[in-house]
Amino acid sequence: MNQTKRKRRNQKLAFGIVSMLTYLIVLILILMLVFIIVRGIGVISWEFLSTAPTDGMTGGGILPAIIGTLYLIIGSAAFAFPIGIMSGIYMNEYAPKGKLVRLIRMMTNNLSGIPSIVFGLFGMALFVNKLGFGDSILAGSLTLGILSLPIVIRTTEEALKAIPDSFREGSYALGATKLQTIGKVTLPMALPNITTGLILSIGRVSGETAPILFTCAAYFLPQLPDSVLDQCMALPYHLYVLATSGTNLELQRPIAYGTALVLISIVLIVNIAATLIRKYFANKVKMN
């Protein structure tokens, strides 16, 4: 009896510790979010979002950074989405199963394991210097695009894999070619899941700093870029600058909180959107 009591007590203790540690993680996250939201919310206004920084970045808004990040998102998507999706299609639909697919998958995994600063170095060597794009939206977008390729490829592959072969066979049976089958049956069915992956990759791209440090990001550039060969500001880099350098750290603090809040909002929106899309289509499939 004594023994079973001890067993119960140990279990209670262990479960207590385990759940405490888990909820501590949640607490830290909440603390971080609340901290930034509380301090940042007062800063956010239409003016903050729609004007350029002034007074050596101690005043004004963050419009150029928002626009810059937007350009980088669009630029990297224009590169990574088509290539990534095509790559995913090749892996699941065309490549002979076995060694080759495993090799490609390994390469994709390895690519996703490379630290973002190494992408920065690579982008600088190839796009900025070798191809002569200079520090530009183009160079930054390509670098970020490469960084987001693995996410796009992986979600495309998984989404296609989830489609039962019976649908493909049904299409072939009607005389459709492989490409028609992919274009008219497989891909549309996989689209919701692919979209989730694309959205998540946008989230990743919008928050990356290291890859654009030397390929694109401008320290301070109040006017908006007018070509892809211009530099631009970007939200994450702007937050870094506001937090660590600049003319007056104290005066920059509120703007930094505001910028951090905008960044976090993007991440939250992206995550929620991805979840909603997943849920929405999951329900739809169930109903059919």
Partner: protein
């Protein structure tokens, strides 16, 4: 025609299929061509030479000795095995101390001759002089310092990338900094990460799990600058106050931030591993009167040990490569760290902090690319080994 188009599209798909492989090859190619160039660069600042008087018995000097001379730490030749003479330093801009402006000529055309003359007259002099001013009839002794060597980099204890006359690219301080920060980060993250994995895989019911999983995903979605910012504002003062330090930007601060950032990886991978523990094993343990906790501790955790190890290794990989957050909170001092409560500097933070100032194609630039190679290799080794182990486990 239709078939032709299909063929083209199929070709495009095939090429896209190999895009990641191509990118990795390109990354390797570019990092290595830039980084390996470092070893064909002279130790002394490019375009300069170290010269002595011909009568000086010294024929070789180490990079450290030269640095100490120019830093006034070595002031007499006998300290390096020479005569008992005070060392006289000579840099190009010191020339006006010896000659009037007229003597140097209108176009400074007499400078080479004057330098030659000066060096040959002063037995105790050591000069650091641009190569363009050293002509064939130079009357001094030119020290051949040789190129930067492998061991100067990999066993070098000093990282002083922009010093004259000699820069030091010893990566030991950066390696130790990276190791300190990453390992301590994992030590901090491990109990939390494994606990959360246990909680999610074994204890929590569906509803709680459905709430907690997205929360953890969110944790991995937050940009690293935001972590860095939070660390700077909240954790830096916290560490400073708790340990009564002069500054709060220390290795530990970086470790704490990194620990939070590595959590999602550790949790997800360990949880998956625990879920893979077959139900029959759990049931057997419970049927023998084992409590739920005993079953977790004695059956599930040992069973998923290799998965949990992968999680730790992947977590280390993330920590090693993380740049911005670490850059913002670790204080970035490039001395070999002997403890976690000092400012220290990691490899990625070094690249991020210095690449902007390093002239393209120069020694410093190449040294930073070399750091990139090291980082690349570390993370590739980590990834491949994890993949190898998990592939083996699946068989």
């Amino acid at each position: 025609m239709k078939r032709f188009i299909e063929k083209i599209i199929q070709g495009m798909l095939t090429v896209s299929g190999f895009v990641t492989s191509i990118v990795i090859l390109l990354i390797v190619l570019f990092l290595f061509t830039e980084g390996a160039g470092l070893f064909s660069k002279p130790k002394v600042e490019d375009g300069y030479e170290i010269v002595l008087n011909k009568k000086n018995d010294i024929n070789t000097l180490s990079a450290e000795q030269i640095k100490d001379m120019f830093d006034d730490k070595i002031t007499n030749w006998n300290e390096v095995g020479g005569k008992n003479q005070d060392i006289v330093l000579f840099r190009l801009n010191d020339i006006t101390n010896y000659f009037a402006e007229e003597e140097l000529g209108e176009q400074l055309e007499h400078v080479p001759a004057k330098i030659s003359e000066l060096i040959s007259q002063h037995e105790e002099i050591i000069g650091f002089i641009p190569q363009e001013y050293i002509k064939n009839d130079f009357a001094g002794k030119r020290l051949d310092m040789g190129n930067i060597k492998f061991k100067d980099v990999f066993f070098g204890k000093e990282w002083i990338p922009t010093a004259t006359p000699i820069s030091f690219f010893g990566i030991l301080p950066l390696i130790t900094g990276t190791l300190w920060v990453s390992l301590v980060a994992i030590l901090i993250a491990l109990p939390f990460g494994v606990a959360a994995a246990i909680y999610l895989a074994e204890i929590a019911n569906h509803k709680i799990r459905d709430i907690l999983k997205p929360v953890i995903e969110l944790l991995s979605g937050i940009p690293s600058v935001v972590y860095g910012f939070f660390g700077l504002i909240v954790i830096v003062p916290l560490v400073q106050n708790i340990f009564h330090l002069p500054v709060g930007e220390t290795g530990l601060t970086g470790s704490i931030v990194l620990a939070i950032m590595a959590l999602p990886t550790i949790i997800t991978v360990s949880e998956d591993a625990m879920r893979n523990c077959p139900r029959s094993m759990r049931e057997a343990s419970l049927a023998l009167g084992g409590s739920k906790w005993q079953t977790i501790f004695k059956i599930v955790i040992p069973y998923s040990a290799s998965g949990i190890t992968s999680a730790i290794v992947l977590g280390i990989g993330r920590a090693v490569g993380e740049t911005m957050a670490v850059l913002m909170v670790t204080g970035n001092s490039a001395i070999i760290a002997t403890g976690i409560l000092q400012p220290l500097r990691t490899i990625p933070a070094t690249i991020a902090a210095e690449l902007g100032e390093a002239p393209d194609g120069g020694v410093h630039y190449q040294a930073l690319f070399l750091l990139g190679i090291i980082l690349f290799l570390i993370t590739q080794i980590i990834n491949s080994s994890v993949e190898y182990v998990s592939a083996k486990n699946k068989l």
